[in-house]
Each structure stands twice: as structure tokens, then as C-alpha cells.
Symmetry: C2
Subunit: 301 residues, 2 copies
């Protein structure tokens, strides 16, 4: 399949679900009607670093690349809009269309339009997704910098499932295993992100590198200490609290709220309160026997 | 240098020149104030495919990656805004900061803000740039689909210089050679693009793959025939007309205009008229002895 045939096939596989596209495929750039604020993130996944072709179907790789980028939009509380996708295809990779179809499957779930892209050849499979979300006013969005002493710290969902799924996948399990499915096809918490932002979250971040790393980012950007009780961390089945806070790729959200907004926060999304914010700096993880040190998530290298 | 130190150094190297940024570095996504229309393109360059580390300085690679993406914004007639940059860094590549500095040098010339990015490790150097431009109304922008029978076909600048420079670079010339400089640091024709759009261009495209390929895209999208006279093609010094229409990476613009807009078009940008549009389909290249077949630019593989 030549480049032009592939691009034509890709374009056929895509749907415009935004209602905002003025120009789409076939021009030098896509044109979309904007809302007042554009919220944009870009993320790259590399074969052998962020996924393994040996254990991931092409469609799972496409799904994950879009999920990773959309999770950043979720963490801001923005409404997802358009995705722009670049793929480096090695000669021995025969399923570029399946890759796009996997991405489109998630796009369909999330109301996202894949509005542009680039396909080039190269020695290793690389996917880059730039995604734009939209908002109408800065107050609708939540950064990492607003956590205040006295705030509660909450997380959505269960943690550690993706990393446990990754290990099981390497051991031969498949997508029928619920944890493996969580690893292969993470779901960005877009609805929860918007609802938590609307409920008054003071800071928010997605748990892509593991709570032990990501909660520290919130602490540093907000100039506060986040104290997280390990025995309150919601763990995926069969996962210890230590594994839950160090495992990455969960794409759940961590958010902070003033005590007075506890109820609206709980109504907004399935939250578990795992700790509190106080004056100071950094992340304090507390176990049954006191502070636990030496735990960190992973920085994608 | 660790990832966090590198990101901190990169952030220090960047300037906000948009006046539109609401949130920049340090959050999950960048937030910018939008104008009514967002014009977005994404482009990827891979070492060994689109450039050679052996002959390109890191700063040249960064420059070229941004130039490639901005050229698409130029071809739409949009005003450039923000760039989002992803870099896959192999272990043996020691100059990531120089790469960003080269990109920032072009961003500074063009009034562009590098507003976000991702840095990951991988086996080969890959740069992806997603760039957003802005416009206020669809009529300000030009696609590939509006060329009409009777229109004139014009190109900016001189063609074939980048490909000639690439060959000279491989033979040992350096950036003091003007053609080599053109290859290493192409300049996207952003001002010309906007001026040509304002002057009433009916179709426009950037010459990234060579006129013999890109003019065909305009013909196909517009449903017309573009006839280009080889002896009217403006050639870079020492370059034949055949080389000028097949060499890529010039990043000049091709635009079509109704005959009645000849003068405004010439006032808008340094244009050379190279042919005409007629009913029919495809690209007709005409030499001294009649139609010339078998010439094509390159599709980036």
C-alpha cells in the first residue's frame, strides 16, 4: 500500500463528530471553529518504550496513543475536540489502518474528531497525538497549582490495575483478563474531569506516571504538601497499595477540594479520599507504621 | 541530564510571544485564548529519512521541523500561533537543548510560541511539530480546491535550491554555501501566504514535495488542469528547470489567481507566473519541445 492509498483509506475510516470542522482532509491544514480557549497537549508513544508490539494489537496501540493525550485534556477539565496524529511506520509494520481504527474507536467513545495527521516511514513505530480541547472561560479549567492547605485529596477509580495488567500480559494473559484490558485500552476520565472541575477542584492531574510521582507534581506546583494515606488508596484487584501508587498508565485523576466541597465533589465523580493538603512541600506517603519513603512512579524515560 | 532537568532547561529557553497564553508549562496542557478559526497541521521528521544527523547540526534539525509545520500554515494564509513539539531522543544524541534552541530561533522570527511538548526516549531521533495558526473568518483562508479555469499559476521565490543544497551538503559543503543554507534552514513563507490570501488567491499549496507533485494536488482537489511552462519556472542558481520542479523542501508557495487579480497578486508577494489553469485534470508540464512526462517530486516516504 502506497502512502497516498494509505492516507485515502485512513480518511475513509474517520468520522467528523465535532460539527466544528471548516476544512478537514485534503488541504495543508485542518480548519476548525474555535471556542474561546484552546487546551492543547501532545504525547508520543514509542515501540519498546511505551508499548510492545509483541503483546499489543495495532488497534490497542492506536487506542492508547489517543487515550494518553486525551487524559491530559481530562485533567484540565476541558471538553475534548480534535486530535492530530502522526505515525512513523517501520517497513515491517503491516497494520497502519488497524492502528487508526483503534484510535477512531476511542475517538468515537469520546466525541473526538481525528482532524489531521502525517504518515512517514522510519525504523521504529512511533505515534504522536496532539489533541485540542475547548473551554469558554479560564475558571472552567483546573491546573496543578491551586491546591491549598486544608484541601482534601481524592482520586477516581482504582489504581495499579494497568501496571498489574502489563505484567500479566507479559506472562501470557490476554484482553479477556480485566486488568490486561485496563492496560491495553485505558479510558481517559473526560467526564469525571469536567465534572470535578465544575464541582470546584482546586488542582487536578492525571495519574499517568503513578500517584507517587504525579501527586508530587501537584505539591510542587501548588507549593504545598500532599499527605496520602496508603491504606486509603483504592487498589485494583490483587494489587498492593505500594504497587497502586507506583504503577503508571492508570489515567485516573487526582484532584484536591476544599473540605466544604466534599459533597459536590463526591457527586461529580467516583472519588476516594486518600489524604489532605497542608503547608509545606512535597509528597508525604503514610503507611501503617508511619511515613514511607523511596516510592516513586515512573517518569517515562 | 535527566528528563526533568532537560524539560526545565527547555522551558527556560522558550519565550511567550503570543500574548494569548493563559496556562503554559507546568500543567497537563497549555491553554491559549483562541481566535474564531484554528488552523492546525502536524508534521514529523525522522533521522535518516527527512534529515541526516551526519550533516545537520541539532539546531538546524529543530529549525527545519518547525519550518515544515509552519509552511502548512503559510499555505492556508493563516497567522501562525503556537507550536507543540514532541521529540524522541536516542541515547547517543547529546544536544536536545540545541535542537530546541534552533526551533526557538525560527519561532522568534515568525512570532510563534512553543507552547507545549513531550520528550521521550527511543532508538531514533524523531521530531513532531503540531502547529496552530489563527484566522477570523473562512474567507481569509485558502485551500487547494479553488483553482478555476482561466486562473494564472504563480510561485514565490526560486525553486530547486533546497535539493541542490542537500546534494552539496552531502558532498562536503557547509552552511556558508547559500544553497546549503536554504536546505538547512528553510523559511516558511508566512507573510507571503497571508498577503496572497488577502489578494484573492483561489488555491494555494506549499512546495514541500516539489512542484511536479504539489501542483498535481491542486489540480486534483480543484478538478482542473494546471499547465506549467518549464522555461518560466524560477530556478535557484545552477539548477535546471527539471531539477527545480522535482526538488522538494523548498517551502515556497504556489498560488492561483484570476487574471483580473494579477496586479494585486504581484504586489502581495514576489511571484513568478509559471502557467495557467484550464478545464481538464492533472498537471501538464510543458517544455520547449512540448509536454514533458515522467517528472515527479517526492512523496516523503
Amino acid at each position: 500500500v502506497g502512502e497516498l492509498e494509505l492516507i485515502a483509506a485512513i480518511e475513509t475510516a474517520l468520522a467528523d463528530r465535532s460539527g466544528r470542522l471548516v476544512r478537514w482532509t485534503g488541504d495543508d491544514a485542518a480548519v476548525t471553529r474555535a471556542r474561546p480557549l484552546a487546551v492543547t497537549s501532545i504525547d508520543t508513544l514509542v515501540d519498546g518504550v511505551h508499548f510492545e508490539r509483541g503483546t499489543h494489537e495495532a488497534s490497542d496501540i492506536g487506542w492508547k496513543a489517543l487515550a494518553t493525550a486525551l487524559s491530559d485534556i481530562a485533567a484540565m477539565g476541558a471538553e475534548p475536540g480534535e486530535a492530530y496524529v502522526s505515525v512513523v511506520l517501520p517497513e515491517d509494520f503491516g497494520e497502519p489502518l488497524e492502528l487508526v481504527q483503534g484510535m477512531e474507536a476511542l475517538a468515537s467513545e469520546c466525541g473526538v474528531t481525528i482532524a489531521g495527521g502525517d504518515v512517514v516511514s522510519g525504523p521504529v513505530l512511533v505515534l504522536t497525538v496532539a489533541v485540542t480541547g475547548w473551554a469558554d472561560a479560564p475558571e472552567e479549567l483546573v491546573g496543578r497549582d491551586g491546591a491549598q492547605p486544608g484541601d482534601l485529596v481524592g482520586v477516581t477509580g482504582e489504581l495499579g490495575g494497568s501496571e498489574a495488567g502489563r505484567r500479566r500480559l507479559a506472562e501470557g494473559s490476554n484482553a479477556h483478563d480485566a486488568l490486561v484490558a485496563r492496560h491495553l485500552r485505558p479510558r481517559p476520565r473526560l467526564e469525571s474531569g469536567r465534572a470535578l472541575a465544575a464541582a470546584g477542584a482546586t488542582a487536578m492531574i492525571d495519574l499517568s506516571d503513578g500517584l507517587a510521582t504525579d501527586a508530587r507534581h501537584v505539591a510542587e506546583r501548588s507549593g504545598v504538601e500532599l499527605r496520602v494515606e496508603l491504606d486509603r488508596v483504592p487498589c485494583a484487584p490483587g494489587v498492593s497499595a505500594e504497587e497502586a501508587v507506583t504503577g503508571g498508565d492508570d489515567y485516573e485523576l487526582l484532584a484536591t477540594f476544599p473540605e466544604g466541597l466534599r459533597e459536590p465533589a463526591e457527586s461529580a465523580a467516583p472519588l476516594t479520599w486518600v489524604g489532605t493538603v497542608s503547608a509545606g512541600g512535597g509528597l508525604l506517603l503514610v503507611g501503617a507504621d508511619g511515613p514511607v519513603t523511596g516510592l516513586s512512579g515512573y517518569e517515562h524515560p
